[in-house]
Symmetry: C2
């Protein structure tokens, strides 16, 4: 009896989302195979060189046995990381830190720790797609509240947030500077979230991996708001800070002892983060905050070029983002999923086109295409050199003009 | 109103197990602080040098930007890994492979993919503790079937296995060579599991990270049993194979296209495995299977010394394990949790003692200490040089004799 027909994956496994950021890569590959130059604005992969101490540390890495490290991260690296936070105005002891495999693992751990299967976590749309994957892995329901392009994707009012909190709500998940919108939450907004979380007994999971990329004003960390020691869980990563995405070194930071103990037990489950990469991360952390200025200025110029390019396209709606390196823009196009594919399959100008991330992947969808949220939006990552960004915005303007709908 | 009293972690987070392998480390640290030499037989951390190409590859690693890699792993490494499997007699295409962050992540992915929250996976006690963590993270219930020291921890009969399969059973999880028992499943045992899985439409998750460590007979992979293409999911790692535990490079291998697609979507969620470590793993994989012989012979000598040492202790029950580098032994001691602590707090001989992993952590427990399973067992990892192992077995004999119960 052949029962192979029974071998189906779990429904969650069938539903783990395709990355809206990576799913068009095959079409881009095909375009490149036809000789088209594709400007990739889909993925937040900085082109800024990783600071030299990273490679220097790998080049001098010297162990006879590449042994397991500590589950919570190497002590020297955690000490250096605590220094980094202090220099950023965030008081943390090294024992508050659990080193994770990228910010990704910190997010997964945080969701596992704050919520039971079936519990809810409030988040703000549009949001980083992979939150959906980690929530599904944890059996957690993301309860989304919309934010709007026209108001710079800032938070809805308190009443709307409070109305979304139900008996199974365990946490509010925020991201500032934001991926995909570039929005930086004001200290006032953080204080509003803090007051709600304290009053309703909720955790706050704060994804701050773009902390260094704020172009106007300053960044406030959730750990700088007083009275949140039991509530706040910081998710962080060196990926963007040092342009070291491939290192997979992040951290979870909290002053809540119970959360920390649970994070360490989870960390023990997967034994340890990669050890050589922690030595390399340590070497970069010792550079101090001085290295961020030039990087920030370069991204600010890129943001300005990208934003100005968008403003020149009739019908585009977006506010100038204050941080990260993304712009979420509304286009005068009904279906940006189709538009993003068309850019790769049918459009080119002087042999060039561009690759963007369609909006719907940054929203919780109910499955019907008609009611798809964010369908008139795209996310642009301004991680290319300025002449390339200028050309990409020119291509986008021509494409919007020429798109046959 | 101070609601900090409400800030409790989820019940799963409160219940993630402490590692039985790592939890006694603080007592060992304290013993060492008192000047005691502690022979660590608790953790499967090989002392064999990592092959030189690993460090050579890191020393020559040269990228301007440490960028994200491919979610499913670097193509060159996957190709080399497919070659490794072919040399081991396992036919796999590189597209069957998803590179993971250690075998740990492969296990987590496999459980997520085969089972819904609330579903069951059958496993055989005693088993690798961290299965419990990954199952809890996935909302999956491990349904354990006992195996016994007196019969070398081989599988129970078909009837017992079939009786454990319920309507929510989705997979059978096996580990061969086994951690913690060292047992190597025979081809006949694998065929029994295969027949049951095919008849009942179950996945088989096969943890084979100790493949290279078989001292008598040969290792059969689940992927070498015909007719299982839809059923079999292999979990693997370079940690033990190349003594590179800290690299965190594993893989999930399956010929089931739906499972693979789901694994790739999960892999996209966490972006990529560490990139430099894949280059280093690639360099070692190119060494071919010739390097495993001397390593295997060394571990076989260590096993023999450890096993002979155990045999000399009156009342010890264990069969000679055929693989991995663990022995699970029954001692003539009722509570090995207390005994393992006592070794560190009260026992020493000529200023030396030993650190072992108590048995109960390798079983599913119902929470009551009285009904604790595996309480008269310990796991020994024979990962030290032979004179140290000889001394450790002498210490164990003296400790068992002197233990005051």
């Amino acid at each position: 009896m052949d029962q192979s027909i029974l071998m189906r994956v779990s429904s969650r496994a069938a539903d783990f989302p395709d990355s809206p950021i990576r799913k068009l890569a095959p079409l881009a590959d095909a375009a490149m195979a036809r000789g088209i130059l594709v400007h990739a604005l889909n993925i937040g992969q900085p082109d800024i060189p990783t600071p030299k101490p990273f490679l220097d540390a790998l080049h001098h890495y010297d162990r006879t046995v590449i042994a397991y490290g500590r589950s919570e991260g190497e002590p020297e690296y955690r000490a250096a990381l605590a220094d980094y936070y202090r220099a950023a105005g965030i008081e943390l002891d090294e024992s508050d830190l659990v080193v994770t495999v990228g910010g990704s693992e910190a997010l997964l751990f945080a969701l596992q720790i704050v919520a039971e299967p079936g519990d809810e976590v409030i988040c703000f749309e549009p949001f980083y797609t992979n939150y959906t994957t980690f929530a599904m892995m944890s059996g957690v329901t993301l309860k989304p509240l919309r934010t709007e392009a026209a108001t710079g994707f800032h938070l809805p009012d308190d009443e709307a947030i409070r109305a979304a909190i139900g008996p199974r709500t365990k946490a509010i998940l925020i991201c500032s500077p934001n991926n995909p919108t570039g929005t930086v939450l004001t200290e006032g907004e953080l204080r509003r979230i803090a007051a709600i979380a304290k009053y309703r007994g909720l955790f706050i999971i704060s994804d701050e991996v773009y902390r260094e990329f704020v172009y106007e004003g300053t960044h406030t960390s959730i750990l700088q708001i007083e009275g949140l020691d039991d509530h706040a869980i910081l998710v962080d990563s060196i990926s963007k800070r040092y342009s070291a995405c491939g290192a997979r070194i992040g951290c979870l930071a909290t002053r809540n002892l119970e959360v920390r103990a649970a994070a360490v037990r989870l960390a023990q489950g997967r034994l340890c983060p990669p050890v050589a990469e922690q030595v390399a991360a340590l070497a970069m952390t010792k550079l101090g905050p001085g290295i961020f200025g030039p990087m920030r200025e370069e991204y600010q110029r890129r943001r300005d070029v990208t934003f100005e390019g968008l403003l020149r396209i009739p019908g585009v709606i977006c506010e100038k983002p204050k941080g990260a390196f993304y712009i979420m823009a509304e286009l005068p196009i009904a279906d940006c999923e189709a538009f993003a594919r068309w850019l790769l399959t049918d459009f080119s100008h002087d042999g060039e086109t561009l690759l963007v991330a369609p909006g719907p992947g940054f929203y919780v969808q109910d499955g019907s295409v008609e009611s798809s949220k964010g369908l008139n939006q795209i996310r642009l990552a301004y991680v290319l050199e300025i002449p390339k960004l200028q050309r990409a915005m020119e291509l986008l303007a021509r494409a919007v003009d020429r798109y046959p709908v």
